[in-house]
Subunit: 110 residues, 2 copies
Amino acid sequence: MGSEPTMLLQGTLDLLILNSLVAGEMHGLGISRRIQQITRGTFVVKPGSLFPALHRMEDEGWISAFWGDSENNRRAKFYRLTKAGRKQLEVETKRWDRISLAITQALEAS
Amino acid sequence: MGSEPTMLLQGTLDLLILNSLVAGEMHGLGISRRIQQITRGTFVVKPGSLFPALHRMEDEGWISAFWGDSENNRRAKFYRLTKAGRKQLEVETKRWDRISLAITQALEAS
DNA sequence: GAACTCCTATTGACACTCTATATGTGGATA
DNA sequence: TATCCACATATAGAGTGTCAATAGGAGTTC
């Protein structure tokens, strides 16, 4: 599947992407950088993971895309949270809390 | 892939199995029940997920298996943590802590 | 105009989990 | 003793998500 430092938990990528877009619209690599930053390097999302996820999420209607210019004057596709995306972020955040708690407690019970 | 209540995060199943075996040797369905119990019903591991995982982990050398009789006097395959399994549990626990912390902090930063 | 960086994108492989199904056996009940 | 249910292991087949590797266009710099 992939070697240690990069490997993500299934479903976690969406959550991180949605969450990073709360700060405002961003282009793909910007999102990638933000995730790396905000998780202090724990998660490194490479293009082969990022773009399929973005396209999938656009299909789901959680994010919308439009072309624009990046900070460096390059053409870039920007992504923005939709209303449904905000809702989804809420759903997935709750899901994460529930799962995270369950596992942590399970591990402590030893 | 699967609907909400049961769905696991990738890589989490191994961790839960290893952890449940700390309590002592157990047969397959026993492990399944214990996971459900210890996570308060958050995770329900069905046979189709459990057994492939057990076989995989046996191949990896993290658990060892032997036939015996269950509480109900039925033939059952019991699993036990190996030394390598204990080590792996430690590794995966650390991994979980790291990931869990990173995501939680990322979510809080909004 | 050559080299370099930024940015999006795709492909092919692979691992994990899920649903569904199969098989065998012990115990209970009629 | 025939039937049925619960226990227990097992596999097939499908779907999905992530990864490594790679490609290519478009500015920027020298």
